[in-house]
């Protein structure tokens, strides 16, 4: 914290008022630094221009995992120590498929969870300022940076848009 009170927080009671306010604020070209909601609201997520590459990344995790598992199976069963199981071929691709699928799913899950944890900055005991306690309960909170907005105009606008609380923090 550099100095206290560098944010303005607009608190809304309902999803509709929030979405409406969000659109109006966008129209007024006021910079919103974050929105906190108890559940995902797609109008906000899209309007805010938040991007997440987690789906694309997971695809690459999957590709990587599939290749890694298959080559591991090939190396151990064919190259390193081929065993003769009743005269069946060591390079038994069809029966490798099962393990490859399961382990690929497993790796994608673990790797994307870690990516999520790192990118969304979620891990145990992380210190993050909680701007409003109700944001995970029943309040919809919009956060502004004081330096980037016209304070007086914003407060008036927020009140007009139906904010129930306007807090400086």
């Amino acid at each position: 914290m550099k100095n206290d009170k560098q944010h303005i927080i607009g608190v809304f009671d309902g999803e509709e008022t929030l979405v409406n306010a969000f659109r109006e604020l966008k129209k007024e070209k006021i910079e919103i630094s974050d929105v906190f909601t108890p559940f995902p609201i797609h109008e906000v997520l899209e309007g805010h221009g938040r991007k997440s590459n987690i789906i694309t990344l997971s695809w690459f995790f999957g590709l990587f995992a599939a290749l890694a598992v298959l080559s591991f199976l090939y190396y151990t069963a064919v190259v390193d120590w081929p065993l003769n199981y009743g005269g069946k071929p060591s390079s038994a691709f069809p029966s490798f498929i099962v393990i490859t699928i399961v382990l690929t799913i497993f790796s994608v899950t673990i790797l994307s969870l870690f990516t999520f944890s790192v990118r969304a900055k979620l891990w145990p005991n992380i210190e993050k300022p909680i701007y409003h306690d109700g944001a995970t309960d029943d309040k919809f909170v919009i956060l502004f940076d004081k330096d980037k907005v016209d304070e007086g105009k914003l407060k008036k606008l927020l009140k007009d848009l139906g904010a129930t609380e306007i807090i400086e923090k």
């Binding site: 974050d34 929105v35 906190f36 909601t37 108890p38 559940f39 995902p40 609201i41 997520l45 805010h48 938040r50 991007k51 997440s52 987690i54 789906i55 997971s58 999957g62 591991f72 151990t76 069963a77 390193d80 120590w81 065993l83 199981y85 069946k88 038994a92 029966s95 490798f96 099962v98 393990i99 699928i101 399961v102 382990l103 799913i105 497993f106 994608v108 899950t109 673990i110 994307s112 969870l113 999520f116 944890s117 990118r119 969304a120 900055k121 979620l122 891990w123 145990p124 005991n125 992380i126 210190e127 993050k128 909680i130 701007y131 306690d133 109700g134 944001a135 995970t136 309960d137 029943d138």
Partner: protein, 453 residues
């Protein structure tokens, strides 16, 4: 989009968002109720019995069980398959209903996923014990070792099974936990107790519900949901290959993978039904788990029951149509009539006939009857696994090698122990974790009849 005018509201009682958080988290703040303590007591006793049986099994060896050279797989494998089947409901609920956009799942999926994690954990105990020398269990990990290096046999369904079960346990647990993060944050921000704030805050991992967090959360849920859908189908298919790849009469059929997957979802949904009724009864969450929810699950059960009946009849038909004498013997002289008549007909009646009662709306809307039917299904599914595992092994190709099988007290105790572990885990879940996904319920709460926009 969900049409409330046609299907009715998902959450009753016109609740505000604050009310939803309060009502769902209320068991966490209440002092434990008498029935809860009694339940914990009984399940602890059962767990202790189970631990004793596990100790005897490890210390004495598999000789303490009733399995013999002919019937090598007894209660252990029956219970393993039974638990894994029950464990399928959580993933099936979250994933299939997510893909099918069934919004009503949001009140139920948390409990179903919790059940999955505990049930798969119970299931994993059995094959581990059945190895006999559990201290050598690390032999099944493929790692560079001093035994050759001798790698595991990747062609063996038993190894696939090991991989599939461990992966399934970890994946379903992480999916479950991911869904709980926002709800833990809700508890962290609404509780007044410092201890709860610290503990739930630790697990909430700094969740604030910012748009960046939600965007990534939804992306991740989409990815995990998509790939776990494959897992629902693959895990029990792999379990079925444990049987289908061998050449025992009654096991060696191509019907097995779909038959097992459907059976798993059947028993799982029945267990979800059992739990839903218990949650409604004891926690008064009728506004969230409405009659509609029970009705929907009942309809799914009727449908799956038809598939089960078809599968049973297909097996019998193919045995007759193939005119293979061993198949004919197994199905007609050993199951339908003969030594295992009771088990076969218990399976058929409980799984294929009794659930058909739920065609009637009056029965679907009667919670007591539905509860009893869901118990019957789980008993029936247990007999199905008995039927598959024991009848085929006991009398296969060589009459001189035929043998009977009766479980010993130790075997039964291991099973009772896992029932105890399951009940214990589920009771802890009821008490300490929001048993309905709060943020998901808040999301569907807006679907109200005659809502003014």
């Amino acid at each position: 989009m969900y049409k409330t005018e046609i299907r009715g509201p998902l959450i009753l009682g016109n609740k505000t968002l604050g009310q939803i958080s309060d009502e769902i988290t209320s068991p966490i703040y209440q002092r434990p109720k008498m029935w809860w303590l009694i339940g914990m007591g009984i399940s602890s006793v059962m767990m202790l019995l189970g631990f004793w049986a596990i100790y005897v099994t490890i210390a004495t060896g598999i000789g303490s069980w009733g399995v013999n050279n002919t019937v090598g797989w007894g209660w252990a494998i029956i219970n393993f398959v039974w638990w894994i089947g029950i464990g399928h409901a959580g993933t099936a609920f979250s994933i299939f209903l997510l893909i099918l956009r069934q919004e009503w799942r949001s009140s139920v999926n948390r409990a179903a996923e919790a059940m999955t994690v505990v049930a798969v954990g119970c299931a994993a105990i059995f094959p581990a014990l059945h190895m006999g020398r559990i201290w050598d269990a690390f032999f099944i990990f493929p790692y560079p070792n001093t035994r050759g290096p001798l790698w595991v046999n990747y062609n063996s369904p038993l190894f696939w099974d090991f991989i599939a079960i461990s992966a399934y346990l970890l994946i379903s647990a992480s999916f479950w936990f991911l869904g709980m993060i926002p709800d833990f944050a809700t508890i962290r921000d609404t509780t007044k107790s410092k201890v709860k704030k610290a503990v739930y805050g630790f697990f909430a991992m700094g969740w604030r519900g910012s748009s960046g967090e939600w965007k990534r959360y939804e992306g991740l849920a989409f990815v995990l949901g998509g790939i776990a859908a494959v897992l629902v189908v693959s895990v029990h298919s792999i379990v079925s290959t444990d049987f289908a790849v061998s050449i025992e009469p009654g096991w060696h059929t191509t019907l097995f993978p779909p038959y097992f997957v459907v059976g798993a979802i059947f028993s799982g949904f029945a267990m979800v039904m059992t739990l839903m009724v218990i949650i409604r009864k004891f926690y008064k969450l009728n506004d969230f788990i409405t009659d509609r929810h029970l009705d929907n699950v009942a309809k799914i059960l009727v449908y799956i029951s038809l598939i089960m009946g078809t599968a049973y009849l297909t097996e019998v038909f193919i045995a007759w149509y193939s005119a293979n004498e061993y198949e004919l013997f197994t199905f007609f002289r050993n199951r339908i009539t003969g030594e295992y008549t009771f088990q076969f007909w218990a399976m058929f009646v409980c799984n294929a006939l009794i659930p058909q009662l739920m065609w009637f709306k009056k029965i679907r809307r009667n919670i007591n009857i539905v509860f009893v039917i869901s118990l019957f299904i789980n008993i029936g599914m247990w007999y199905e696994r008995f039927n598959i595992v024991v009848t085929s092994l006991a009398k296969d190709y060589l009459p001189s090698a035929w043998a009977s099988y009766t479980p010993t007290f130790v075997e039964i105790s291991v099973f009772l122990g896992t029932l105890g572990i399951f009940a214990f885990g589920v009771l802890l879940f009821f008490k300490y974790i929001p048993m309905i996904a709060i943020h998901e319920v808040k999301m569907v709460n807006k679907f109200k009849v005659n809502k003014k926009r």
